[in-house]
Amino acid sequence: MTACSKSDDPAANNITLRFNNTFKDTPIILGGPNDADATVHTSAAGQTHRFSELKYVISNIRLVKADGSEVGYQTDNLDLGATVVNQAKPQTLEYVLQAIPSGEYRQIKFGLGVRSALNILDEAKFPKFYAEAGANDTEMMWEWGIGYRFVKIEGFYDVDHKKLSVHTGSTVEGEKGDHKSYTQGVDAYRDITLALPRTAVVGERAPRITIRADFDKLLSGRANTIDLDGDIATPSVHTALNMMLFVDNLGGDGLNDKAGMFSIESVTD
């Protein structure tokens, strides 16, 4: 029996998000200088590079219907609505959104990182996400800034395998752009909006959305072409300094570019 009559459809069903981390069309295989399997990529500035570690935080997930109305998925709850995508842990490359109201969805929105209001390492409120982010094999915290790391990349570049290490996170106090509340710091959170190439119909079926995160953009982004030994960047970014170059490449500048490295590969029933 097919879904002819609406009354037969369940009120809700799951959507599975799959994160495919790539260099352009090639899925990334992590590895050190001596790993023959590791995916090696060349930047627009001509620098070869590879990653040994690749993690990022996704939160604030919303689905948008044709009429523009949004269905938020646990957007105020990091335990239930945020995840650390870790290339070294295959199970983290899939994230299941549970009990999404039946309907037809045309867009997906999500945050790369954690928006400021929730980015305070509140272990008492969100113990599960705190533990997941703080685990020894995850290390997605900026303790000194009382916030989460949003992206953590470790790797090597050039023929002599120099160390590449990019960490991003927010240091902002108050609301950036609001003169009354803003005092200092940078906001590395980026809100991503992606149109779905095909409507995701939730109901009898539980669709699967494959999101590509193309890390070619790290050094060769819409915002910045980065030479790791150049004047504007350093290959070790562990503070707010130089960080926004990478933030804008990965997550867009939030104004003209709301996609950054992300795109939709496919929507399947």
Binding site: L121, D122, V237, A240, L241
Partner: protein, 343 residues
């Protein structure tokens, strides 16, 4: 109209009563009076956060106990006081702070004094409210390497703490916020303003020696612009060309702001109790005050964002040997032995 105005007045009055009642319950109940902060003559206004967390008798007592509590660390060996040693104006004599398992931190331990009057905390000004700071050492790998829930679980099992939280906050619940607030309350009470300098200023029948007096003249001519006000800091961030910390974690103020012009700029340190807080510099580059003065006299390396005052003076603060002697004599008058419990 008249009736409407009357009703408004009633609502307003009821609101006042309600507010007054809430205030009485906690945190400052009759048996837990507010401890008024004495503002020393010439000090700047209190940080706004203090008005939202006014020290109370039991809040401060709890904060002081927590400040010395090793259970704040993962293996119960490190307390705040391990690095923030009262006899050193709540700093220590390490080059960089040493935490749990002997792990070495990024920076030199800052003294804790007159924090109620500061607008920025930490060498890079990353914190604007003292209540937000205690979580950092609790969770940092090189400091206490614990978590606030781990700490709370230990404090709940302790015989003393639940009652102390009850006295300070009205009930025995132990929450992260209460830990942070009581620690801040205690630190707000750590005011140093009874040095020889203060007593001379207050004309309490004490006078500078000749060397101290000459040093004070040098200080006013060559140091006071940055080490300004009765806090002896203008609380601005400046790159004064000190040798740089090679760690990729360090960018000075730029760590927070992301701005290239803030690279390796640090908050101008207060000079109060400076004779107690060697070594000096953001990661303890200088073993003595003399070494700092020698360095500044010899001239510092160029940097694009080198402080304009240094740049205008040929990247140096010229000082004769006599001036250095006198300056150190003066700086020693900023020591407050009562504050450091050295009397």
């Amino acid at each position: 109209m008249v009736a409407g105005a009357k009703n408004l007045a009633v609502v307003f009055f009821v609101g006042l009563v309600a507010a007054a009642c809430t205030r009485q319950v906690s945190p400052s109940a009759p048996d837990n009076p507010e401890l008024p902060l004495r503002i020393p003559h010439g000090f700047p206004a209190l940080n706004e956060a203090v008005s939202n967390n006014k020290p109370t008798r039991h809040g401060v007592a709890l904060g002081e106990k927590l400040f010395h509590e090793q259970k704040l660390s993962g293996n119960n060996t490190v307390s705040c006081a391990s690095c923030h040693n009262r006899s050193k104006a709540f700093a220590d004599d390490q080059v960089q702070a040493i935490g749990i398992y002997g792990r070495v931190g990024l920076r030199n331990t800052p003294p804790i004094q007159n924090l109620a009057f500061m607008r920025f905390y930490n060498w890079d000004g990353s914190m604007l409210q003292l209540e937000k700071q205690p979580l950092v050492p609790i969770i940092t790998h090189e400091e206490m390497d614990s978590s606030v829930l781990e700490v709370i679980a230990k404090l709940r099992e302790d015989r003393a703490y639940p009652a102390l939280f009850g006295k300070a906050f009205g009930d025995e619940e132990i929450t992260p916020e209460r830990i942070f607030r009581s620690l801040a309350q205690y630190q707000y009470t750590l005011v140093s303003a009874n040095s020889k300098y203060d007593r001379v200023k207050r004309s309490e029948r004490e006078t500078f020696t000749d060397s101290e007096e000459r040093g004070y003249v040098v200080f006013r001519a060559k140091c006071e612009t940055c080490h300004a006000s009765e806090l002896f800091t203008d609380q601005r961030f400046r790159n004064v060309g000190f040798p740089m910390n090679p760690s990729s974690q360090e960018a000075g103020r730029a760590r927070v702001t992301g701005a290239v012009e803030d690279y390796m700029s640090f908050r101008v340190p207060s000079l109060r109790n400076v004779a107690y807080t060697a070594p000096y510099g953001s990661f303890g580059q200088f073993p003595t005050l003399r070494a700092v003065l020698d360095y500044l006299d010899a001239g510092v390396p160029h940097a694009d964002n080198l402080d304009p005052i240094l740049r205008e003076n040929g990247n140096r603060i010229p000082l004769s040997e006599q001036e250095k002697d006198d300056l150190i004599s003066f700086l020693e008058t900023l020591s407050d032995p009562e504050f450091a419990d050295r009397e």
